[in-house]
């Protein structure tokens, strides 16, 4: 692949993750606002002790979603700043990060919709899948981080 193609691919990845990250952050910040509103209006379906599992699951969905959004933004910026980072596995890393951002908070959210007493609903089974995808992406990124050259040597 020519250098120009690499540069375009870098820009594509950076744009994709920056866009995904910011939109995702908007989505999960909105979820946070909705959860705060449920607190504000004392909605029993969210606040009753019997719905403690739902509250925990949706809080986790909000927290994980928001945090993963920022990981996307960081990844997008990293690709811009250090294009050599993770070049070879970038498609896999990108796919894993996006997958984790959907499946991990989504699993928490679905787990909170229906619950079995103190156990979340079966939707929570998506969570370990998302967690595995996130761990793969982070492992690959961490390994590649060592390949980043100092700014003056590029």
């Amino acid at each position: 692949m020519a250098d120009r193609d690499y540069a375009r691919a870098d820009r594509d990845y950076a744009r994709r993750h920056l866009r995904f990250g910011w939109w995702s952050l908007l989505l999960f910040a909105t979820l946070g606002l909705v959860l705060e509103s449920l607190h504000g209006f004392k909605v029993s379906a969210y606040l009753d002790v019997s719905n403690e599992t739902r509250r925990l699951m949706w809080t986790l969905a909000h927290a994980h979603g928001a945090l993963l959004s920022m990981v996307h933004v960081l990844f997008g910026l990293s690709v811009r700043v250090a294009p050599e980072m993770g070049t070879r596995n970038r498609p896999l890393i990108s796919m894993c990060l996006i997958g984790a951002s959907i499946v991990l908070p989504g699993g928490f959210f679905l787990g909170g919709i229906g619950s079995y007493g103190g156990d979340p609903g079966v939707g929570v089974l998506f969570v370990p899948v998302g967690a595995a995808a996130l761990l793969i992406a982070l492992f690959l990124l961490a390994r590649m981080a060592g390949a980043v050259r100092p700014a003056g040597k590029r």
């Binding site: 002790v49 019997s50 079995y116 156990d119 079966v122």
Partner: protein, 644 residues
């Protein structure tokens, strides 16, 4: 500059950390507590904290219930209902009791109930409150004696609704005593059985607790949990927890509907007899079979576990059926009045908190042949508020945890549906009348406890014969307070062909309530006085004649009777502001009685007075004091002790 900032941050962190440590409740591991009974997880018990992780809704309902607060060792401003801030309580044993707060702790100074009568006067002691029993109607406070885990009982009880302290003995119905006996060690010996889960008394000398003298009592009392917690009804849960620790196991059960019921008891799924025994382990009159069983229980706790046959683990006292029991014979040999303290003479339970005895002698239970139509505690009560119940959890707990739809006739009509199609044909009252409420006729207020009358849980039909033979108010006269037994007998004969019995001249001519109130024993007087404050009875009987008889009870020898009579009197029109202290000295009480009688002469006006000889009123509507006093002089003064 940087070092200054670092030093500042360090100082700030140190101050913050110190303040957090100082303001936090100091945590003392339960095992290191030496001065009160402790919670120990053994015998397969895991505590409600473990149950909460998987069953939050059930935990929430239980947490709101009064079962949880039967005993509390968290003595905090949230759990203590009385004011301890420098309060001085007088007119109680140990007089005065000086209450005080010391930071987070609650303390009391009072005359030592365990005084050995050495020296000229009772020494005063200062003790820390370390345990509370009750939270609904009354609170009893227990102090550390620092003699192993033995607790002493503060000699005054706090009435929650009235917000007042009364002598501990005044909270119970029993003959007046000069100086009550020490109650030191009572929680360890008695309360532990039903105010805690899997309690073990662990006295070093279990056979002579009552006679050894309080200073000699040594106990290492332990419980699985304070209060009546999950495992009191579901059994020890350790095996259930172990089997369901793996999430895959749990989700397999959720998705297939194959719940693991092998290692935990669900009382509501047991057969009616066994499910009711779960409640009956505490809500019943029972005794150890013999001294050997009591010794075993002293060490290992009571052997009953939910799902067991209760009758194989202890004697459930049923006067009509237990007469041949060697256990009961031995008890009656030692204390002939034993049955009278808890039962009417025909064997019906007469004290509160023993509803299981009423249930098992009810025809709906005893004569039931079909399991689905057998009455059990769970027919009307639920231990966990259901999602379909719109009431707030607190209201559900306050209303005796009655299942939605079971508050009224729905409870009986579940089985007796045909009666509901024409209610009046059966009840002979208008459908909306309180006389058409099944409970009022078949579960009248004939049990006593907590300074009030409570519904009998032995389903019965009203008869005058039972009233004549046992002295127990029948449902008709407990509502129609202005009617005679003769009137009731005539009505029952006409409506239901109930056989007549011979009545005395007084029973023929004087309202039954007045006979119970003036001539009855202390238990009857208490019930009659309470009925005069009961709204349906007031609506059926009118109130304009009640002040005089109630006034006569203001000088009753029993504290409990005076207290109940005053409550009813104070709720009469014209007596709302009447001041009276049921604990005042006798001379003051006599003066108060005269004052009340004087006030009752002015109320109501002559125009609205009743002129009913059955109510001992003359032709002008004035009370016939000679007849009232004459009946009062015939008062049944047999000593009555009701073991609620």
């Amino acid at each position: 500059m940087r070092s200054v900032i670092c030093a500042g941050l360090l100082c700030f962190s140190a101050i913050l950390g110190w303040s957090i440590v100082e303001t936090r409740e100091p945590y003392v591991p339960e095992a290191r507590i030496t001065y009160r009974p402790i919670q120990v997880q053994q015998d397969g018990y895991v505590s409600s904290d473990t149950c909460k992780a998987c069953h939050p809704a059930q935990y929430d309902a239980w947490h709101a219930s009064f079962h949880r607060t039967m005993t509390q060792v968290a003595v905090t401003p949230d759990t203590v209902r009385a004011d301890f801030n420098g309060v001085r309580v007088t007119d109680v044993p140990g007089n005065p009791i000086a209450l005080q707060r010391r930071g987070r702790e609650f303390w009391a100074e009072f005359g030592d109930p365990d005084w050995d009568h050495q020296g000229s006067e009772r020494p005063r002691i200062m003790r820390q409150i370390v345990m509370i029993t009750g939270s609904h109607y009354q609170q009893v406070y227990w102090y550390r004696t620092d003699r192993t885990r033995v607790l002493g009982q503060l000699p005054a009880t706090y009435l929650v609704a009235e917000r007042r302290w009364i002598p501990r003995d005044a909270a119970l119905l029993h003959p007046p005593v000069e100086m009550p006996a020490s109650e030191t060690g009572r929680w360890n010996a008695i309360c532990v059985n039903c105010h805690a889960t899997d309690g073990k008394r662990k006295f070093d000398a279990p056979d002579n607790v009552a006679t050894a003298g309080t200073s000699a009592i040594v106990a290492d009392t332990q419980v699985a949990e304070f209060g009546i917690a999950c495992e009191a009804c579901h059994g020890p849960a350790a095996e259930h927890v172990r089997r369901n620790r793996n999430p895959m196991t749990r989700y397999w059960q959720y998705l297939t509907g194959e719940a693991d019921r092998s290692a935990i008891v669900q009382p509501a799924r047991l057969k009616p007899a066994l499910s009711s025994q779960v409640c009956g382990q505490c809500h019943g009159v029972w005794e150890h079979f013999d001294q050997s069983a009591e010794r075993q229980a002293n060490v290992s706790g009571l052997p009953y576990r939910p799902g067991d046959d209760l009758a194989t683990t202890r004697l459930v006292v049923q006067p009509a059926k237990s007469q041949s029991s060697p256990t009961l014979r031995a008890i009656l040999d030692a204390y002939p009045g034993y049955l009278n303290d808890s039962f009417w003479s025909d064997g019906m339970i007469r004290v509160s908190g023993r509803e299981y005895n009423g249930l098992i002698d009810s025809p709906c239970f005893a004569r039931a042949t079909v399991e689905e139509r057998t009455l059990s505690c769970f027919s009307c009560h639920t231990m966990h508020k259901t999602a379909a119940d719109p009431r707030p959890t607190g209201e559900w707990a306050e209303t005796h945890q009655v299942t939605p739809g079971m508050e009224g006739n729905g409870a009986c009509l579940t089985c007796h549906a045909p009666i509901g199609t024409n209610l009046t044909a059966h009840t002979k009252h208008q459908p909306e009348s309180s006389g058409s409420n099944c409970y009022n006729c078949h579960m009248p207020y004939t049990t006593y406890g907590l300074l009030r009358a409570l519904r009998s849980h032995q389903i019965s039909s009203p008869t005058v014969a039972a009233s004549v033979s046992t002295g127990r108010p029948n449902a008709c006269n407990a509502c129609h307070l202005d009617k005679t037994l003769a009137w009731t007998q005539a009505q029952l004969e006409t409506w239901y062909a109930t056989p007549r019995v011979a009545l005395s001249a007084e029973e023929e001519t004087v309202a039954a309530s007045l006979l119970w109130l003036l001539k009855g024993d202390a238990g009857q007087r208490a019930l009659a006085a309470w009925s005069m404050g009961w709204t349906p009875a007031r609506q059926a009987s009118g109130t304009e004649w009640m002040a005089v008889p109630l006034s006569m009870l203001l000088n009753d020898p029993y504290d409990a009777v005076r207290q109940i009579a005053y409550r009813s009197l104070r709720s009469l029109p014209g007596f709302e502001g009447f001041q009276y202290d049921f604990l005042a000295p006798g001379r003051t009480r006599i003066a108060d009685t005269m004052r009340a009688l004087e006030a009752s002469r002015r109320l109501p006006g002559p125009a609205s007075r009743r002129r009913d000889p059955a109510l001992l009123l003359d032709g002008s509507g004035a009370p016939r004091m000679d007849a009232i006093v004459r009946l009062g002089l015939q008062r049944n003064d047999r000593p009555v002790v009701l073991r609620e």
